[in-house]
């Protein structure tokens, strides 16, 4: 049963990721990315990381992607005319790059195939308690630094998007 779920969400994630790259209009790509994010969140739940799954949906699919969709709608971006993407250099790149990429994937696959699936350790749960305890004791400094990082990103985004500096 769990394997059916895994295959379903894995196929959904990969299909949505391919759709992100294949679509001409950027808005459809963002919407496919939202589908991929929810599929990956479902995979997180299968891995018993339910807190991270929900946080993934709230932060990524519910906030970052809304930002993307807003920018696309406000800038009124037209669909990508196919002429822009089909230059000669690009065609050679695709011809060489995609097989090379698949070769890389096969190498990675061969390496991880033998990763020992040693016991699923102690019944570690991805609950908020476990994450919170670790985050606020061992990783307190990085946590405070991320708040600084977000403040800087906020200021940077406001300054860059202003019409007249």
């Amino acid at each position: 049963m769990i394997q059916i779920l895994f295959f379903f969400f894995a196929a959904l994630a990969v299909g949505a990721a391919i759709n992100v790259l294949v679509q001409k209009h950027v808005l459809y790509s963002s919407l496919s990315l939202i589908v991929m994010l929810t599929a990956v969140s479902a995979l997180f739940i299968l891995l018993q990381a339910e807190f991270l799954a929900v946080i993934n949906v709230i932060v990524y699919a519910g906030a970052i992607m809304v930002l993307f969709v807003f920018v696309i709608m406000l800038l009124n971006i037209p669909a990508d005319p196919s002429g822009e993407d089909g230059s000669d250099r690009l065609r050679w790149l695709k011809l060489i790059g995609i097989p090379l990429g698949i070769f890389l994937l096969l190498m990675v696959g061969a390496t991880v195939w033998n990763v020992s699936n040693s016991t699923n350790a102690t019944q570690m749960t991805g609950t908020a308690q476990a994450i919170g305890q670790s985050l606020f004791t061992d990783y307190l400094l990085p946590f405070e630094l991320t708040s600084l990082l977000i403040l800087i990103a906020l200021m940077g985004a406001v300054v860059f998007a202003k019409k007249d500096l």
Partner: protein, 337 residues
């Protein structure tokens, strides 16, 4: 597979699901009637009372009307997104009911992060509005959609931050456990509800919830006097009915959350024979939700609309610092006791 389907627990779960879902859908239909009647009484007119006794069959008539209306699609509308937007709006609105405990055993599922699940699902509902407005290819829906989405995003922050105080007191994210943590009484007669411990958070939550669901006084995004109907201007028939249902479902969801977080959920005095005791928690829960929905409707009938820039200012400069201050003070009190 067959024995999985006829397993006793599975059948009980199916029965719970169908009863909760059926109850919720009926409640949504009758909330529309309740809104029209209450607003009408506030305005000293009777409201719909022709169809059936006291107008009780009005939702049925409304549903039939929506089914048979002509579906008009605007020119150059983005057809795929135009048809998908009501679905994207309705599905998250209904999905949040799957984790709400209507009684000690009457819940569809109990996950350890159910409160965050409801917030995650609500934040996905923004897409229905944005896509609906954009796909209609017309200026009023687009403006309404952008305003509504910006407003929902801003008030989501104060909504989620206002409940952190409650979480610090209850030490859990699960809605079922939040309810059980409010059992019992102080001094024998004051129920152990979180509203007495977190009054500021309650006020912030209620105001943010009204803004989050795009209801008056925060409904500039769909104001009838200015934007025709906001993001659902170009929608007719069943698609409009889905948007409509989604809005009421959101309203009922935030009312359910408010009762669970602040008013003790299904807790209440228990008395009578065994069958009454089984039904009483659900009765208490539904009556508390009813109070919230009634308050929603009364506020809609009495309060004027807030201008958009005042709305954004209020959300970012007043509610958000208030919610954060509440977190600070609550954490100080919890840490020092």
């Amino acid at each position: 597979m067959i024995e999985y389907l006829t397993n006793r627990d599975f059948l009980i779960l199916m029965a719970k699901m169908f009863s909760i879902f059926g109850g919720v859908m009926t409640a949504l239909a009758y909330t529309t009637l309740m809104e029209r009647r209450v607003m009408a009484f506030v305005q000293m007119r009777p409201g719909p009372n022709r169809v059936g006794p006291m107008g009780l069959l009005q939702p049925l008539a409304d549903g039939l009307k929506f089914l048979f209306k002509e579906q008009v699609v605007p020119t150059n509308a983005n057809v795929l997104l135009y048809y998908a937007a009501p679905i994207v709006s309705l599905v998250p609105a209904l999905l949040s009911f799957s984790v709400i405990p209507f009684g000690p055993d009457l819940k569809m599922s109990d996950i350890s992060v159910s409160l965050l699940f409801v917030f995650a699902i609500t934040s996905l509902g923004v897409y229905g509005i944005v896509l609906g407005g954009w796909a209609s290819n017309s200026k009023y829906p687009l403006m309404g959609a952008m305003r509504a989405a910006a407003q929902m995003l801003s008030y989501e922050l104060s909504l989620t931050l206002s409940v952190v105080g409650v979480l610090m007191i209850a030490h859990t994210l699960s809605l079922a456990e939040l309810v059980t943590s409010q059992q019992g009484t102080w001094f024998g007669f004051i129920p152990r509800w979180n509203i007495f411990l977190q009054p500021v958070a309650f006020l912030v939550y209620v105001v943010s919830a009204v803004a989050e669901t795009n209801r008056l006084p925060f409904d500039l995004a769909e104001s009838e006097q200015e934007l025709v109907a906001g993001w659902h201007t170009e929608y007719s028939g069943m698609k409009f009915a889905m948007f409509f249902l989604a809005e009421y479902a959101n309203m009922v969801t935030v009312s359910c959350l408010a009762t669970i977080l602040f008013l003790g959920g299904w807790n209440g005095p228990s008395f009578g024979p065994w069958w009454l005791q089984m039904a009483l928690p659900t009765v208490w829960f539904i009556s508390k939700i009813f109070c919230f929905i009634f308050a929603y409707i009364m506020v809609r009938a009495t309060v004027p609309r807030i201008r958009y820039d005042q709305l954004m200012q209020f959300g970012w400069k007043i509610l958000l610092p208030l919610a954060v201050a509440n977190i600070l003070i609550t954490s100080l009190v919890v840490a020092l006791s």
